[in-house]
Amino acid sequence: MTRVMDRGFSIAVEASAPGSHRIAISGELDLAVADRLNAALEEIPDRANVLIDLRKCSFIDSTGLASIVKGRQRQEASGGNLAVFGATAQVRRLFEVVGLAEDGLAYESLEEASSALASARS
């Protein structure tokens, strides 16, 4: 597991199963730290499924959101996929406002997100 910490913000990346990676984000994902998520996502192999755990992510701005969306596009283009789960109130609201709440990106739980990515792959 790789962990990067800064001002209470941290990203933990774990290869959770063959072809699957989990990224846990803690703290506030904004323009000051979004490059750390970009860097972590760029290290994910092609064709991998990625689950981003947002249960401890208390805030996301448009820069952080763009990192997640770009990461998803990259994984999809390589034959993989990306989903997030466990969004807190502000993050859920952000997804709703920008129209991402209903497009298969965000799920309530790890189980729902894992199941959705497995279905998409099969």
Binding site: R7, D30, L31, F59, Q90
Partner: protein, 138 residues
């Protein structure tokens, strides 16, 4: 950083740099009661302030070290009035807001606020004025 609180008014003077945005969110949270902001609306206001400050940080001082940024928040009747001002280069909307993937932050502010006004003068700076309807307790 300089924080000034007057009755019902919060003023923050910060450098327009990425680490300042988290400070703005902390100060908003700390003064939410004074400003009459309910807890249920804090998330939206943090988003609005982060995007407004983000614009100043990205565009105001492109060719030199971070200059100043002033944030003022005060209630006005049933609304909250927010000003984010810099003394930077001024926005050239077509060049600045379309060439760097910018502009999305302003759309987000518009979606979450009652009104958004942008005043900008080349070489003198940019001023965002945002008005948000404060949610009243049910």
């Amino acid at each position: 950083m300089e924080t000034t609180t007057e009755p019902d008014r919060l003023r923050l003077d910060l450098p327009a740099e990425p680490d300042s945005v988290a400070i703005v969110r902390r100060e908003l949270e700390a003064h939410a009661d004074m400003l009459g902001v309910p807890a249920s609306q804090l998330g939206d206001l943090k988003t609005i302030l982060s995007e407004a400050c983000g614009n100043a940080i990205r565009y105001a001082y492109p060719e030199r070290a971070a200059g100043p940024m002033r944030i003022t928040i005060e209630p006005d009747g049933e609304e909250l009035e927010i000003h984010v001002c810099d003394r930077g280069s001024g926005l050239r909307p077509h060049r600045d807001l379309t060439s760097k993937g910018g502009g999305f932050g302003l759309l987000l502010i518009s979606a979450l606020s009652k009104s958004l006004s942008l005043f900008s003068e080349i070489g003198k700076g940019t001023h965002l004025e945002i008005r948000v309807l404060i949610q009243q307790p049910a």
